[in-house]
Symmetry: C3
């Protein structure tokens, strides 16, 4: 079981959600966060340098079984990207167990 944390542009959220749905990743949680960067992250557009300091981001938490990890990550990498600095990050970590509260099922049965 793995936890995927994706910090993406809010403007990319609907597309990402739809793409996840298409690979049958239907359940996740999200909230809005502030991302801190520094001036090195600024980009230049028409000669003006834009700092990406303290920008609004959307934070997604998606817990998946191990066999869903690769396709979930590659879907986010593909769909959340614009090619400009500040497209965001994906972090992957281990999850020991998952429970569905309604049925008290855990393990594989607890995820989806």
């Amino acid at each position: 079981m793995k936890k995927i944390e994706a910090i993406i542009r809010k403007s990319k959220f609907d597309e990402v959600k739809k793409a996840l749905h298409q690979i049958e990743v239907n359940f996740f949680s999200y909230w809005d966060v502030t991302g801190v960067g520094n001036e090195k992250q600024g980009h230049v557009y028409r000669g003006i340098s834009y700092s990406t300091t303290d920008i609004q981001r959307r934070y997604l938490v998606i817990v998946v079984s191990d066999d869903f990890l690769d396709k979930t990550v590659s879907t986010i990498l593909e769909i959340a990207s614009t090619g400009n600095v500040g497209d965001g990050k994906i972090f992957v970590s281990d999850v020991l167990d998952a429970y569905r509260i309604r049925t008290k099922e855990n393990g594989h049965a607890g995820i989806n």
Copy 2:
């Protein structure tokens, strides 16, 4: 040390908090998130199908010592449940260390 992440109905929060208090789990953090599901998660009430897509949930993070894990999970499973779809999830993961900022204590002394 374990991290328990519980995504529950907001309407169940006060009861869960009180029940955690009774087993001496007194400290945790929470915030509100949106939960994404799909139509399969809809339920039928008086003949009308309700989708649970994009519902408001409360996200709790509770870091406990290993000997508190089982009772904390079973308390949430019991108290946060209504028996209807959408009661939420509990995820358990490992925590390497905890620090109390005021005293700089870590390890077991850093948790509570």
Copy 3:
């Protein structure tokens, strides 16, 4: 790769951000949460007992390479502290992988 979750006083955020910047920890995410405590956490000020129940906190998530862990934790411990109860917590956990969405780089190259 490690994930540092720091739950700090909002009033300490600007100082912490600046101190992190000075040790070249330039990227992280944050949002506001509520911290639950109990009356044991109350403190007495001029004879009046203040409960720290349900106080507003700022939650920081900082993913760093292993060689940045110690200085990041010690910087937060030093700067976020006031010496009064309720200064907050730091939790450390493992991260398996990090991806930069723009370039699809992962591993060490995916963090900063």
